[in-house]
């Protein structure tokens, strides 16, 4: 019966474009609080899906449900088409070999060499020693640590430890890699190198990656799609560039605050109800960001305006920009300018007015 259901589900997964993971209305409570409160989500084959949220949003619980380290209260999880929420510990073990996992604190075994750490998943699987060591050597080559095979983890830097963690997670040739805040304990430069390694593995091996983080920079650098999670629910989901261009919720906006242009504080403090200059926030993305928008504006409308702050960023190859524009109110053209910009797919918001030049 179970077998029958899982084959049917495998067929369904195939039909939906080969989702590696499909989560349906997942719930997990701890005491009185719901850590995961009705999440439905799919991870498509070959993509990097980023899940972002503040600490305590439930992302750690969610990712741990996927390999059964955490048991959900309600809902279903399909991994490669197979429902796993009903599986016992023993049945979860072969499943976990299909899912690699890397951790914030690396979790390398200090009593084992780098090579033994990488080979451990294969040892647990019962593979012969020669095969284990050959695979470990191959993976250490891949992550650029071939010369550290005989070293102990204590002799490695944080970035090197995470590379070993990645090699270890790949040892059993998983279908899915889970990354639990894998770069949160690393400095920005090391973070970049680890992220580019993940991207490289994703592209070269076609490995599906699900990563959770609280840093938008991580999402921006590697993810294809992003899901924003808050209080156990997904509040926003979509392609990374489109979520960056047009965040719909306050949570997303506040998570984006660090890496998207913001109105300089000195200026923000002086904004008032009225004044000689209106400060507009103009968000552009895709087509609107490719066209010579400001030049068109200057040609079409004679009112004076100036660029106060902002810029155009490229995310997944798509231009995403935020410009802060000051428009002279004395010209009486503010409404006209807003209409002009809106007509060209730019989103305009009047932030306020300043009375003298900044």
């Amino acid at each position: 019966m179970n077998q029958h259901v899982s084959w049917a589900e495998a067929g369904a997964a195939e039909a939906s474009g080969g989702d590696v993971v499909r989560i349906v209305d997942l719930k997990r409570r701890f005491g009185g609080t719901a850590a995961v409160d009705g999440i439905s989500l799919s991870v498509r084959k070959g993509e990097i899906l980023g899940i972002i949220g503040r600490s305590g949003a439930g992302k750690s619980t969610l990712i741990r449900c996927l390999n059964g380290l955490e048991r959900p209260g309600e809902g279903q999880i399909f991994v490669e088409g197979r429902e796993i929420t009903g599986l016992g510990e023993r049945d979860l073990q072969p499943l976990r070999r299909r899912i690699g996992m890397i951790f914030q604190h690396f979790n390398l075994l200090s009593a084992k060499t780098v090579e033994e750490n990488v080979a451990l998943p294969l040892k647990i699987e019962g593979r012969p020693k020669a095969e284990r060591l050959a695979r470990a050597a191959e993976l250490l080559e891949l992550v650029g640590l071939a010369d550290k095979a005989k070293a102990y983890p204590a002799a490695l830097s944080g970035g090197q430890k995470q590379r070993v963690g990645i090699a270890r997670a790949l040892a059993a040739r998983p279908a899915l890699l889970l990354s639990d805040e894998a770069t949160s304990a690393l400095d920005p430069e090391t973070t970049r190198s680890i992220l580019s390694l993940l991207k490289d593995i994703n592209q070269r091996l076609g490995l599906t990656i699900l990563l959770i983080t609280h840093e938008m920079e991580v999402i921006r650098t590697v993810a294809d799609r992003v899901a924003v999670i808050d209080a156990g629910k997904i509040v926003e989901e979509g392609l990374v560039w489109s979520v960056f261009a047009d965040p719909r919720t306050d949570v997303t906006r506040s998570l984006l605050a660090g890496i998207r242009p913001q109105l300089p504080e000195a200026l923000a403090a002086r904004l008032g109800q009225a004044g000689r200059e209106a400060i507009l926030r103009v968000d552009v993305a895709g087509e609107a960001a490719r066209r010579p928008l400001l030049q068109e504006l200057a040609t079409a409308i004679p009112g004076r305006f100036r660029l106060v702050h902002g810029g155009i960023d490229h995310i997944q190859g798509e231009p995403v920009g935020t410009l802060f524009v000051g428009v002279q109110t004395t010209d009486g053209r503010v409404a006209e300018i807003i209409d002009f910009l809106n007509a060209r797919d730019a989103r305009v918001e009047v932030l306020g007015h300043v009375s003298d030049d900044v």
């Binding site: 979860l92 976990r96 996992m101 200090s110 204590a154 997670a169």
Partner: protein
């Protein structure tokens, strides 16, 4: 010191070494699994069984709270059953082992408990079962502490074996009491204490060296 005294000292040293070594080995063989069981069956452990944990904990506490000299006497029937006699070096090994096993189990438990839970989670995440966790994580990661704890247990056993002289077990303690104390032969007392100091320092030195060699953390 006369030649006979010297021979006696050597024989007593040998008896102490045999008592300490044998009961130490037995406490390792039974105490380590017992320590593992205490950690594994506790709340959040890899084989959580709270009722079993309480029973094991109760037994360990029970044995540890009985003064050794009383245990020595109370266990005479058991000793006779196992060894066939209740007198002598081999007979002393029974109560020594029974006292040292729960003692060592508690020390091993502390080391095993200190193993980072993240490491256990990592091995579970790669599909490892309980046995893999014990073999690949708990024991190897706690090994420096397990060795250090064994050293402490051996040193404690050297002291306890002196008490075993009370049931005619021989050993250095017995020699010190009979000759040094009861016959006022101060030179024997001094010689015994000196030998004990060297013995204890030797055990500690070997233990420390072994621990340093096994410790790969930082």
């Amino acid at each position: 010191m006369s030649q006979t005294m010297f021979d006696l000292l050597l024989r007593s040293l040998w008896e102490t070494v045999v008592m300490t070594g044998a009961s130490g080995l037995i406490s390792l063989v039974f105490g380590l699994p017992l320590g593992l069981a205490l950690v594994a069956t506790d709340r959040g452990g890899i084989a959580e069984q709270l009722w079993l944990n309480r029973i094991l904990g109760g037994i360990v506490n029970g044995f540890r709270s009985v003064p050794f000299i009383i245990l020595l006497v109370a266990l005479i029937p058991l000793t006779r059953l196992i060894v066939g006699t209740s007198i002598g070096t081999w007979a002393a090994i029974v109560p020594l082992s029974i006292a040292a096993t729960p003692y060592y189990a508690r020390i091993a438990e502390v080391s095993l408990r200190e193993v980072d839970r993240g490491l256990i989670e990592a091995v579970r995440a790669m599909g490892g079962g309980r046995w893999a966790i014990v073999r690949e994580v708990l024991v190897p990661e706690a090994l420096p502490g397990i060795v250090a704890g064994f050293t402490v247990t051996l040193v404690t056993l050297v002291g306890a074996s002196a008490m075993a002289g009370a049931i005619g077990a021989g050993g250095l303690g017995d020699l010190a009491i009979r000759y040094g104390y009861q016959r006022f032969e101060t030179s024997v007392m001094v010689a015994v204490v000196a030998v004990l100091i060297v013995l204890v320092c030797g055990i500690q030195w070997i233990g420390d060296r072994l621990m340093a060699r096994l410790d790969r953390r930082a």
